[in-house]
Symmetry: C2
Subunit: 134 residues, 2 copies
Amino acid sequence: MKEVDYKQLLEQKGLKKTKVRMTLIRHFVHLDHAQSYSDLQAALVKELDKSTLYRNLTSFEQAGIIHRINDHSGVAKYAFGESPIEGDDHAHFVCECCETVYCMETPAPGEFNVPEGFKTNKVQTIIRGICADC
Amino acid sequence: MKEVDYKQLLEQKGLKKTKVRMTLIRHFVHLDHAQSYSDLQAALVKELDKSTLYRNLTSFEQAGIIHRINDHSGVAKYAFGESPIEGDDHAHFVCECCETVYCMETPAPGEFNVPEGFKTNKVQTIIRGICADC
DNA sequence: TTGTAAATGCAACTCGGTTGCATTTATATT
DNA sequence: AATATAAATGCAACCGAGTTGCATTTACAA
């Protein structure tokens, strides 16, 4: 994806092309794993305001440019792209060694037998293990 | 489970029988769904110190009296009993209407095909839907 | 009964995340 | 190119979950 495309991506989603947003997109695009707020702060050392960052993460998420991941670490992480399996949730892999979070193409399983009266809408899955780098 | 048993449960786990702990156990036992810190604070109006509460939640968890649940709400919740499926993780059901979290006996599925070099250890599952009460 | 380690309560703190508001900036309009 | 306007930014102040250090109290064993 080229610089020009980032601009188009923003325009297409009705978001203004600002310095902060371009920096953010550029950063997300070339990463294969999810980033938390503090990861982002550390990586983008340039003056980057906390609330500006959070507000942009939110609007990017709403625009489908990134998606929010909840591994079970207590802090939200974000990765480039909409949920790969449109609408539905894809699984996330958390490395128990380096804590890195990867998006898996593996779809969540369909069937879970819940008790009488319970209705299943969707299933979210976290896979824990060791990643290829560790 | 009777009062006397609570005491035995604590002794057996090497935990001293204190007022706070008895109150906590008593509270957890007769609940069918998970409690967050603020749920507990609200329910146990009696003077209950924040750090004491957290420290007890931690030791109860280590002792296997309760287990910690991470639905994707951002706050940890706790429910009575060890993970029903010994060692392995059981699924948790989050009601999208009342936000209540229930433990499901349903085991997590075995097979997820992860990329080359990735090794799966365990799978954690959150089922979202509508509970029997809603 | 008393000694001791563990449990409690309190205050102060960290950190993720949010909100209100004044200032700045992107962009559409002239 | 100048300008009007709504949106984006930066800042400070705030909230709530969870943690830590420390002095005091309590359970329990000797």
